[in-house]
């Protein structure tokens, strides 16, 4: 398999890319203050595909957004790629997010950008990459995802599966250390859902990228290395997948 043109980024080699300890989180204030997470401990090794499962309101999405630098840590600790997120400034959270990839339930592609341009947005956030390298990287990752012939298509002219693959390409093109995926198969049929996650796993594994994925989709459980189940804001089960 070809590798993507890489963006030089330091990787923390000595510790797992994700280390969560004693993490608790609340929403609201006063009488309506509600605990979403309580005393979470979790470490995810490099290159692992970990699925977060649990009922709605169990706290899996809150955990994902906290590790993904999209919320401020209130209590406990999250070390992401060797750096503590608690007390990090808004600017540092933004900087940290540039080393991450995001895949959303709704693909959230920009309607007026072509597939190629949408993928480039995942790369343009990084400075110092020559223009030709950006163009080549976007075209290359689209080709890897089987969308080489759809590069100039607008999202409106792509199928649901194709849109989600463009979103995956956007997440992968920046060569991230960790990818956060939220229900990436929710809008896809069974075969498309499986294929998309299998492809994501293959590409990520080839590059040592860690994937943290929230899902309710039992059809793709066989693809993961580990399943972490949350209930009422706490981890109630943490098991290795039988197929991993």
């Amino acid at each position: 398999m070809q590798t993507l043109p890489s963006i030089a980024q330091p990787r923390a080699q000595d510790e797992p890319p994700i280390v969560v300890s004693g993490l608790s989180h609340w929403f609201g204030e006063g009488d309506v203050r509600k605990q979403a997470l309580g005393d979470i401990h979790l470490a995810v090794a490099r290159g692992q595909l970990v699925m977060l499962m649990g009922a709605s309101g169990s706290g899996k999405t809150t955990l994902l957004t906290l590790i993904g630098c999209l919320r401020e840590v209130q209590e406990g600790s999250i070390r992401l790629l060797g750096r503590e997120l608690k007390g990090a400034s808004a600017d540092r959270l933004v900087e940290s997010r540039r080393r991450l990839g995001f895949i959303f339930q709704a693909h959230n592609l920009h309607e007026s950008l072509t597939a190629h341009q949408n993928v480039r947005m995942g790369l343009d956030v990084h400075e110092g990459v020559p223009e030709t390298e950006r163009e080549d990287a976007a075209a290359h990752v689209l080709a890897l995802l089987g969308l080489g012939d759809r590069a100039t298509y607008l999202p409106a002219n792509l199928s649901g599966g194709q849109k989600q693959r463009v979103a995956i390409a956007r997440a992968l093109v920046g060569n991230p250390d960790v990818i956060f995926a939220d229900e990436p198969t929710a809008a896809l049929d069974k075969d498309s859902g499986y294929d998309v996650v299998a492809l994501l796993k293959r590409l990520a594994r080839a590059r040592g990228t860690t994937i943290l994925m929230v899902t309710h989709d039992n059809r793709i459980l066989g693809l993961c290395d580990r399943i972490v189940t949350l209930q009422d804001g706490r981890i109630v089960r943490d098991e290795k997948s039988e197929t991993s």
Binding site: N108, H110, L113, M121, V125
Partner: protein, 395 residues
């Protein structure tokens, strides 16, 4: 074309021209936005055109004066208002060193009833036909004929008169009309151009003037045109005249100062000038509101995409760049049709009113800069909506 502009902008901005791509993606919204910006531009151009025509038309009769200095009543803010002067001021003026000539000029406004019953308003100057009060060769060539009782010369640019009137007079067929119970014979023409208050100008002898306006008296002209001896600075003579003439009833200014003062007064103190000024402000407000509406709804429609970009790691400056890019594109693209339509309307207005409404070279540049500022302001207001794009809400 769209792709070509996109490539150009990408080189210019050093990033994907997302603002341009967003605008051109929704052509209907873009067309409505451009129509709004163009409309605001047209409004501003027309108001500026009227204001410019007002300023220009005020200066036209002054430029015809064969004088460097104008002596008028101390309460005269314009050519057409103010009290008459004591004729004695003419003799005092002539006695001041540096004055080579001075002539008293009478002014009044005359209603000229047309055969169809409508009224044309003429600004009438009564001059001493033995002196050359105006620079116009056409007027000076006819001074001897003006000495005949009840003869007059008329401005060829007088509005709303029969088309064949002036060629007929020019061909030697005098035109007669009744006014103030006297029969006036128009024997020649000249050219000044009508303003906002009157339709045109009429030049008669001082004697004809006093017969035409029975309440006026020879001892009370409206102004004195003063010529300065060659080599003597006009400012020096102005100082001497101010010292010689009582400032209780006279004001002495160079003609250039008098024009500037008249223009300043009419544009800042008279309703017509203030109305045009307000028109410009309203044009700017319309532009700001239209562009704000377009940009803010555009931001609202793309909140999820913006939140996604925030999640990826784009900072606030990037989003501001998109909104300002859109604002600048709207300003530039809306300006072009706005200017084209305004030029067309200037021609139509000039042809139908005779007003000196023209487009000086600096005006489009100023309006373009104003439009850019207007759109940037709208963009700045619209960016407040960006705060609502929270990437955590995407999950």
């Amino acid at each position: 074309m769209t792709r070509l502009v996109a490539r150009l902008l990408q080189r210019l901005l050093g990033r994907l021209p997302i603002g341009w791509l967003q605008l051109t993606h929704n052509r209907t919204r873009l067309a409505a936005a451009l129509a709004g910006v163009a409309f605001a531009n047209i409004l501003i151009f027309i108001q500026l055109g009227f204001l410019g025509a007002l300023i220009e038309s005020i200066g036209l009769p002054y430029r015809m004066m064969n004088a460097e200095i104008l002596v008028a009543a101390s309460d005269a803010n314009t050519l057409s208002d103010g009290s008459p002067l004591p004729r004695q001021r003419l003799y005092q003026t002539l006695a001041v060193p540096g004055v080579s000539a001075a002539t008293a000029v009478y002014y009044n406004r005359l209603d000229w009833k047309q055969p169809d019953g409508t009224i044309r308003t003429l600004d009438v100057f009564g001059i001493d036909p033995s002196t050359q009060a105006f620079r116009s060769g056409e007027i000076n060539a006819e001074l001897d004929r003006l000495k005949l009782s009840d003869t007059a010369l008329i401005d060829r640019k007088t509005r709303n008169v029969p088309r064949d009137l002036f060629p007929s007079i020019g061909a030697g067929r005098p035109y007669q009309f009744e006014a103030n119970n006297r029969s006036i014979t128009v024997v020649g023409t000249f050219e000044i151009g009508g303003g906002f208050a009157a339709d045109g100008y009429l030049v008669v002898s001082d004697q004809t003037f006093l017969r035409l306006f029975k309440r006026r008296v020879p001892g009370a002209p409206n102004m004195i045109f003063v010529k300065v001896e060659p080599g003597v600075p006009a400012a020096t003579v102005v100082e001497r005249l101010r010292a010689a003439l009582p400032d209780s009833d006279t004001t002495v200014r160079t003609v250039a100062e008098a024009v500037a003062s008249d223009q300043r007064f009419q544009t800042t103190q008279k309703p017509i000038g203030i109305v045009f000024g307000f028109g410009i402000v309203i044009g700017v407000l319309v532009g700001v509101i239209v562009v704000y509406q377009v940009l803010s709804s555009d931001v609202a429609d793309h909140l999820r995409e913006y939140a996604t970009f925030k999640a990826i790691g784009y900072k606030r400056g990037f989003f501001l760049g998109i909104v300002f890019e859109e604002a600048l594109v709207l300003a530039l693209l809306g300006f072009i049709p706005g200017l084209a339509i305004a030029l067309l309307l200037y021609q139509v207005i000039a042809a139908s009113t005779g007003l000196p409404i023209t487009m000086p070279g600096t005006r489009p540049l100023l309006v373009l800069l104003g439009t850019l500022a207007m759109c940037t302001l709208s963009g700045a207001i619209a960016t407040r909506r960006l705060e609502r794009a929270d990437p955590a809400d995407l999950f």
